[in-house]
Subunit: 142 residues, 2 copies
DNA sequence: TATTGTTATACTCTATAACTATA
DNA sequence: TATAGTTATAGAGTATAACAATA
């Protein structure tokens, strides 16, 4: 039983991967970066991880992105120049800078998010019941 | 009805996107590049698009990757140095070079593919029936 | 003349190392 | 002394422009 399960899981994931690594998603990712006015995908990912309610320190952003802290400096410079983000010194530790998403940044993030979360055309091939079933299953995954 | 359908599709896709853009997949993609001995993700994607039965021209590879033709030159140089790929002049047009995947290249591609298609741990949360259902639906998408 | 691929070159993205300020 | 962030610098990844060979 565990064996058939593993096989089904592999097949499911393989099919989904093909969709995500396909041309449509590749294009959409670049469209999203352009739509929110951000120069490169790295900056886009940084934006998507930011939440106005919970500002993150430069170092935390570096960990989110798995990149060097020095690169976060230039990334946040770019976002600040666009008015999407603000650096504020942390009240509890004056070495720490917290990256706050501005209202403009929030709007840009929403635009990018919309563009990315629009499902690819392949989903049109599913019946209504299948779509609902997929939504229910996917919800359990997060 | 079309409205509820769209909503369900958006929810499903959003949840799946979160998985794909999450840390586990990010790490796995780099692991796959390393496992197949390829220097950077661009070269990995080039490999994954190559099929020994249907060699592609340099220009086609550039279109697959949406990058400049000159970059394909250096990409294929790297892969050729690794023994994963061979350039052969096309019999029908001597300007064209066809990129053939070698047996070593095919093996490396398979290793990368295995690593990428291993489902993330989140799928453990699904029941056997849900996994099978997901596999059936995903198969319709490709 | 138009097209395929390469070379030479330059620009962008990202990391390493040395530095400043605060703890 | 150790840690957060920045600066200066160097390296990888990718594009643009000019070129050679073939069509």
């Amino acid at each position: 039983m565990t064996d058939g399960r593993r096989e089904a899981a592999g097949a499911a994931w393989g099919a989904l991967s093909a969709l995500f690594f396909g041309d449509e998603m590749h294009d959409r990712f670049h469209d999203a970066a352009e739509a929110c006015g951000v120069p490169h995908p790295g900056a886009l990912k940084a934006m998507l991880n930011l939440d106005p309610a919970e500002p993150r320190s430069m170092r935390m952003v570096a960990e989110d992105l798995r990149c060097d802290a020095s690169y976060v400096t230039s990334l946040v410079d770019d976002l600040e120049r666009l008015g999407y983000v603000e650096r504020r010194v942390s009240p509890s530790d004056r070495r720490v800078k917290l990256v706050h998403l501005t209202p403009e940044g929030e709007a840009a993030k929403a635009r990018a998010h919309d563009s990315l979360s629009t499902p690819p055309k392949a989903l049109d091939r599913l019946s209504d019941a299948e779509i609902r079933s997929l939504a229910r299953i996917a919800a359990k995954l997060t």
